[in-house]
């Protein structure tokens, strides 16, 4: 039984390794391209994926509400761009603006999710769409009318509202501080990667934080709440408060994650892509072998690598196979959604069977006594 479960846990990563392998065989890309692109994407996305771990610890499932944090970070970036603060300082100011917004949104989100126990994941997903509406209202109609602006360049031609796409002055601000270029020739091919040390350091710090956090009292309490709210409540823990805290931490981390992501990309798509943040992060985590109740740092990092390897390879493989690049694109989308769907189904199925088994066990115990 246990063995089966272990195998089941590794099924998804193994499946993805096979998919990526087949993709590579079909597309035959340059190793330099793959390694370069893969490191870039790992550095870009890991922080966001890691921000999902703490709510899972508290038994709230995948926090599909991380776009709330992402939007907080984006608001910070917009103010910084407006005020013309550049470089790493600009990113830090953006984080300072984003943090209180993320805390407020996380608090709100936690409160709402406490009213929707057992339905946290779908509610957090709807919350991110709801807040996206408010975010648009703020940036499209209030910015420039009620909120004063300095920089005419970021405002739409109508005189108010932020433009759809912004070039960030803080682009690569963290990455540029210290960057090492690797180029190792391997046979005819070569392994190329660009390692932005400071950004990688930030990700390492977050990993250390998560490891440390699990050992604190709050971390232990969170795990207790995640296992059984009633028991935790009887032991004197305020489970609602602990759950809210986990969501606040996740939202704030997502805010920083989005800042890292955007400084690497360099442009901000003001009104698009936020909904994908949660999907891609969740899919990455699940591809790494995590489940809705159990996730670790290796899950997050391996998952991000595998998921993005697929992202790099698939369009090329699709093009090589059908001559149509769109095909790979559709297949990629299908796999992202498919992974999340299958993981959720497996989890729900597992949980139902567990409930059934517990009932049988307790019935047998009653009969024996």
């Amino acid at each position: 039984m246990k063995k089966m479960n272990n195998l089941g846990r590794f099924m998804v990563p193994i499946l993805f390794i096979i998919i990526c392998g087949v993709g590579i065989i079909i597309a035959k890309p340059q190793t330099a391209y793959i390694t370069g692109e893969l490191t870039r994407r790992l550095v870009r996305n890991s922080f966001l994926v890691l921000s999902l771990i703490i709510p899972i610890l508290a038994g709230m499932g995948i926090n599909f509400g991380i776009p709330l944090g992402a939007m907080a970070g984006q608001i910070g970036l917009i103010f910084v761009t407006d005020w013309g603060i550049t470089g790493a300082g600009g990113l830090i100011v953006a984080a300072l603006i984003g943090t209180p917004i993320a805390i407020a949104l996380g608090f709100f989100s936690g409160k709402v999710l406490n009213r929707a126990k057992g339905r946290e994941m779908i509610t957090s997903m709807m919350l991110s769409l709801f807040i996206f509406g408010i975010y648009q209202l703020f940036l499209l109609y209030l910015y420039g009318t009620i909120i004063p602006y300095k920089n005419r360049k970021i405002i739409l031609s109508q005189g108010y509202g932020i433009k759809n796409a912004l070039n960030l002055d803080v682009a690569k601000a963290f990455d540029k501080i210290l960057s090492i270029n690797l180029n190792i020739p391997v046979g005819r091919q070569s392994i190329q990667m660009e390692l932005p040390i400071v950004t990688i350091l930030l990700i390492v710090i977050l990993c250390v934080f998560i490891v440390w956090f699990r050992k604190t009292k709050l971390g232990h309490d969170m795990r207790a709440v995640g296992q059984d709210q009633k028991v935790a409540g009887n032991a004197g823990m305020q489970s609602d408060k602990i759950r809210t805290t986990s969501i606040i931490i996740s939202t704030v981390l997502a805010c920083y994650g989005q800042l890292i992501y955007l400084q690497n990309i360099g442009t901000l798509n003001t009104y698009a892509g936020q909904d994908q943040t949660a999907l891609y992060a969740a899919a990455s985590l699940l591809v790494g072998g995590a489940s809705v109740t159990k996730a670790s740092i290796p899950n997050a990092l391996i998952g991000t690598a595998l998921f993005h390897l697929m992202f790099i390879v698939m369009p090329q493989a699709g093009k090589a196979l059908t001559g149509d690049a769109m095909m790979g694109e559709y297949f990629r989308t299908f796999l992202s959604y498919g992974v999340v769907t299958v993981a959720l189904i497996m989890h729900a199925y597992e949980r139902k069977r567990e409930l059934e088994q517990n009932r049988l066990v307790s019935r047998r115990a009653r009969q024996n006594s």
């Binding site: 209202l137 559709y330 959604y337 189904i345 729900a348």
Partner: protein
């Protein structure tokens, strides 16, 4: 005190939305908007969306929750429509055959979808959402390789692969000369028995009749023994089990029914809109449809036809009136934002309400 309890029964969000809609209509003349045009917009959108909203009822009643897997039914409808066009059926034959094909296909989809939902009780809504997304992505691949040949539905340059928007003007629509002399196409169901009240207010009677037929069918179905068993499963599963009802079977039937009605609904929508939209388009309907029935007063486990009618009118009313009134008054278009906030706010409100049991 009495007003307070009345508001409480009616639901605060619903009350706010009704009030908002009344204010919009009151403000319309001052914003330079013709009231009869606005009313026509609202009622024709009611005709377009009401059957889709109606499709929520069976699944809510059987305890499967809000049907976030709506895209499955919509894809059934799209397939039915495209197949009917492929055969070259036009007019009433065209639309009826499309509906027939759509029902057959969506019953198959619904069957598989229902089997899945039976295995994951308690997590239906989240998984349904993702099943919807995945299925739309999978079908996007299918649309590219599908062996359709009719030049109307196929991309003109490649000769294969479905278009994003397939015009149905030659198949499900009739040419009509409007009061102001312009010529345009009107869906045959919308056109059936339609009449003008004023120059700008035309009543699409046919769509209402279609809605009435489907709604009557749903109403009558829930009066039968099978229908009441389904309701019993949704409102009290333990009681249903004790009285020997096969819960999984009832849920399966309700899911198939919901999916089939959704397929009919999208065809009625398409014949009025003028295009079959494929690829990612089915995703745009889910949350709006769910929100509409919730605004009408449904909860996660209880819904009626009255909820559908009230909800669709209120929701579509807000969607059509906000842009015209606010745009007329302030010349800014906030419709998209209002839609996002109302739709998702309403769903969150329903998800966070504790069940009364």
């Amino acid at each position: 005190m009495q007003i307070k309890s009345a508001i409480k029964n009616f639901g605060l969000p619903r009350f706010i939305i009704l009030l908002f809609l009344i204010i919009l209509f009151a403000a319309a003349p001052y914003a330079g908007v013709k009231v009869d045009t606005s009313i026509e917009n609202v009622i024709s959108r009611f005709g377009m969306f009401s059957i889709l909203v109606l499709s929520m009822i069976p699944m809510i009643q059987s305890g499967c929750g809000l049907n976030f897997g709506l895209p499955l039914g919509l894809i059934g409808g799209i397939l039915g429509g495209v197949i009917s066009i492929e055969f070259g059926f036009t007019g009433y034959l065209g639309i009826l055959s499309a509906i027939l094909f759509a029902i057959l296909i969506s019953l198959v989809f619904g069957f598989a979808y229902g089997l899945l939902l039976n295995r994951i009780k308690g997590d239906e809504m989240l998984i349904a959402t993702y099943v919807g997304y995945s299925f739309v992505a999978l079908m996007s691949i299918f649309w590219v390789v599908a062996p359709f040949k009719n030049p109307v539905s196929v991309l003109s340059y490649g000769g294969s692969g479905l278009r994003q928007q397939i015009p149905v003007a030659d198949y499900w629509m009739v040419k009509e000369t409007f009061a102001d002399g312009t010529v345009g196409s009107v869906g045959i169901l919308s056109n059936l028995l339609s009449f003008n009240i004023t120059d700008n207010l035309r009543v699409p009677t046919g769509m209402f009749i279609t809605f009435a037929i489907v709604a009557f069918f749903v109403w009558a179905f829930f009066k039968t023994k099978l229908g009441t068993s389904i309701t019993a499963v949704g409102s009290n599963p333990d009681y249903a089990k004790a009285s020997g009802i096969n819960i999984n079977r009832m849920r399966l039937i309700s899911v198939m029914l919901s999916t089939a009605i959704a397929a009919i609904g999208i065809i009625v929508y398409q014949q009025s809109y003028g295009f079959i939209q494929s690829y990612n388009a089915p995703l745009n309907f889910t949350f709006q449809t769910v929100a509409a029935i919730l605004i009408g007063g449904a909860s996660i486990n209880k819904a009626s036809i009255l909820n559908v009618i009230i909800g669709t009118i209120l929701f579509q009313g807000i969607l059509t009136m906000t842009p015209v009134v606010i745009n007329g008054a302030l010349s800014i278009d906030v419709s998209e934002v209002i839609r996002l906030i109302v739709t998702n706010g309403m769903i969150i409100y329903a998800l966070t309400r504790r069940n009364k049991q």
